[in-house]
């Protein structure tokens, strides 16, 4: 009763409500600025998307020879066309995700983290909003170029449902990947060199995430391990949804992504609170 009255008198509740909208608006502005910034250099955007052509060309050669050698039209339920479209989506996600761990660790090492921490925004959310703006455009560019190449190689893409389901899952993929990037970046508070963690994380994505080879082609024991780790739900989940969309699969991918987001996001939050509380800044 006492606190309620105090709230009514001081307008605390109203202020909080206003703050929530202001907070969303603040990060929306960061996201929008980054989006406009990237849009200002369309040639650069297109240039960045050319890498997917190289990967698709190599994959086409590898899998065409492999399918030819087995003499089968389908391996683990995937035809050559399915495999190529799967790999296109997997590469598009991989190449467009914004790796923030390096930015994080550089800011910790050169001390510019002090400059960002005293700004009226959350350090983690600021980077996520900015990274999302960049990823969205890069993803669009990679999809455009990658689809054109794969279409020429193996024929038309999966139907509209695949695009919609995969698109929705990709947003959660970026969020989950961002949490891992943040974890690696925050480790700079503890260790001198974070490059090794970044390389290893990327290799986990390439291998256990299913970027280089669909998880369906793994031996059963490795499939079980991969599907019980978060990396598969960053890459394999959306890419498999793309070539084989169904409501049941969509529900399963979302569920896995949400579980892992809660776990990894929670760890990031706890570590962030701890390192910021312990941060000592000297000089000015």
């Amino acid at each position: 009763m006492r606190s309620k009255e105090a709230g009514a008198l001081t307008g605390v509740g109203r202020v909080r409500e206003h703050s929530a909208a202001a907070v969303a608006g603040k990060y929306w502005a960061v996201f929008r600025t980054q989006l406009l910034n990237s849009l200002a250099y369309p040639l650069d955007l297109l240039g960045r998307s050319l890498l997917i052509v190289l990967f698709m060309w190599i994959f086409m050669n590898l899998w065409r020879v492999t399918y030819g050698a087995t003499g089968e039209s389908s391996i683990a339920g995937l035809t050559l066309a399915d495999t190529m479209w799967y790999l296109m989506m997997a590469e598009a996600v991989m190449l467009s995700k914004h790796d923030l761990s390096e930015t994080f660790s550089e800011q910790v090492k050169d001390g510019s983290v002090a400059y960002l921490l005293n700004k009226p925004f959350n350090f983690i959310l600021y980077h996520f909003a900015a990274g999302l703006g960049d990823s969205l455009l890069a993803f669009g560019g990679n999809l455009l170029v990658g689809s054109a190449v794969v279409w020429l190689m193996v024929g038309p893409p999966p139907g509209l449902t695949g695009w919609i389901f995969a698109g929705a899952a990709v947003v959660l993929s970026w969020l989950l990947d961002f949490c891992f990037s943040a974890l690696i970046g925050l480790s700079a508070f503890v260790v001198e060199e974070t490059n090794a963690f970044r390389w290893i994380y990327q290799k986990f994505l390439l291998l256990l995430g299913g970027v280089l080879i669909p998880i369906d082609f793994f031996p059963a024991w490795l499939q079980t391990i991969s599907l019980n780790l978060p990396f598969a739900w960053i890459i394999y989940g959306p890419a498999r949804l793309f070539v084989d969309p169904s409501l049941a699969r969509l529900g399963h991918v979302f569920l896995q992504q949400c579980i892992w987001l809660a776990v990894v996001g929670g760890i990031v939050w706890v570590i962030y609170r701890r390192v910021v509380a312990r941060l000592v800044i000297n000089g000015g």
């Binding site: 890498l51 990967f55 190599i58 090794a196 031996p219």
Partner: protein, 265 residues
Amino acid sequence: MGRQLAFVLALWKTNLLSAMEYRVAFLTQVFGMMLNNALYFVFWIIFFARFEEINGWNLVDMLFLFGVVATGFGAGTYLFGNAVRLSSLIASGQMDYYLSLPRPVLLHALASRSNASSAGDFTYGLISFGAAIYFSGSFGSLMLLRFTLGCLASIAVLISFLVLVQSLTFWIGNTSLLTRHAFNAIVTFSLYPITLFDGTAKLLLFTLIPAAFIGALPAEFVRRFDLLQLAQICAGGAVFLLLAVYVFYRGLRRYESGSAIQVRM
């Protein structure tokens, strides 16, 4: 020649002593890169466990390939660390320093920096070669000689290719994106069996993106002696090296200094 060799050796020694000042960071990068490469190789283990062979290549061939590429790449980018950032040195006017000293500009610029992670690539390459010998059951002192020769040719073509691409900065300005793509292309292509690619693609891999000279060709030469292959890798190394030196020094005539104050640490 002897003076230049002594100079380069002194640079490498300085780089090593500098890295040893941050021993933990150095070792973290070395072991991190070895683990990184090993994880990447797991892809081929999974692949060949399921498909056994593609166009005559099997897992042992891949071990030889990774052995040559990782050793060559590691040694090349460790000893000539600035080969991966030459374009930024040129674009930001940092060549002033090298131009003002009485030493060969290109050699001095390239050898002035060492990448710690490259030492991890080098070590991994040797381990992969060791594993290839073990699983193939064939070894002799001549194979070791062929491996050394193959790696030297691989280093020559890799570093020359990187210098060639980044020398374009003298003519077209910022080439950071081109450099990134060229780097990714040469490394990626060199780590795949050459038998995957047909006529036109193969021609590209011997000329425009000379990945065949960095990976497949020396790796095949290491496995069995072939006079034609020996001639090919020696000629490839020599031609790319001469071309890179020629193009770099032609471009250097166009170099413009911004007279910016540079701090070297």
